[in-house]
């Protein structure tokens, strides 16, 4: 029973964060909440007896993807500065 309550809470947090990441105006907050969705998904995988998938999601989906997003965002911001 306790695991069901925990998974419901995690699911509600995930859905809220994904709504934020789709509808927020600031792109940095959108990227960070998409990373948060991945991180909470990895806890959900752990509850569903899939530790391999949880490890992969935490390292790749939540870590490296966010890094690559920020590198590209940083580059785009720099180019905007050059143009003005």
């Amino acid at each position: 029973m306790i695991w069901i309550i925990i998974s419901v809470v995690l699911g509600v947090v995930m859905i809220t964060m994904s709504v934020i990441s789709i509808h927020h105006k600031k792109i940095t907050i959108a990227i960070l909440s998409a990373g948060g969705v991945s991180l909470i998904a990895s806890i959900l995988y752990l509850l569903m007896a899939a530790p391999d998938v949880a490890l992969t999601e935490a390292a790749i989906g939540s870590g490296l993807t966010t890094f690559i997003f920020f590198y590209v965002l940083n580059k785009i911001k720099k180019q905007k500065h050059v143009k003005e």
């Binding site: 530790p51 391999d52 949880a54 490890l55 992969t56 390292a59 790749i60 870590g63 490296l64 890094f67 690559i68 590198y71 590209v72 940083n74 580059k75 720099k78 050059v82």
Partner: protein, 233 residues
Amino acid sequence: MLRNSLLILLILGLAAIMYNLYAEFTPKEKLGFVAEHYANNGKDEVGAANLVTAVVVTYRGLDTLGEVSILFLTAAIIGFFLKTKSSNNHALPKVKRYSEILGTGAKILVPIIVLLGTYVFINGHLTPGGGFQGGAIIASAFVLMLIALPRPAINHRVLSIIESLSGVSFVIIGLLGIVLAGGFLDNQIIGLGTFGTILSAGTVPIIYILVGLKVGTELTGIIRNLKEIQNEE
């Protein structure tokens, strides 16, 4: 206005389909036919304690080879897209905002993170983990190095040599399986060893170490390419 209402209609239609799928879903009671075979015979046929590793590396090894090639192709296309005009001009980039604390911390942390990644992919056949996870952890250690140090000592040539060698050895081990054992990527070229020890499961640990090196160097290459274009202009 028409466009928005069409979009909402599309989403509602998709939601109806998904609801039907959800209502028809019945939780599984037991394993399917193929999974049952893997579960009952995996210990004797592959000898890996982690059945997910047994499926990824041996039973569906061809898929993993394809996956590694897709990752290689992605890294190559990204390198092609981000090709800078002044790539042969090795002028030192301007150093700005280098934090001493961050740099020293990175120098201490990077070897420890690389050690963790190596542990994860060497023990991939016994504990959760494996080549992809370990490679990603190693790549994140190099990301820390790229962020924190002003001129990180990452040699592009060494990275590409490691990457090509591990890819070629992966295919060679697979081909040796045809000659010495039952088929492509069969892991019984060398003996299976004692179940549950680090030198067990035939070639599974070797293949996962190669996959870990390849994934780690490829992801580092992608991030290094992205870092290089930060320095131009």
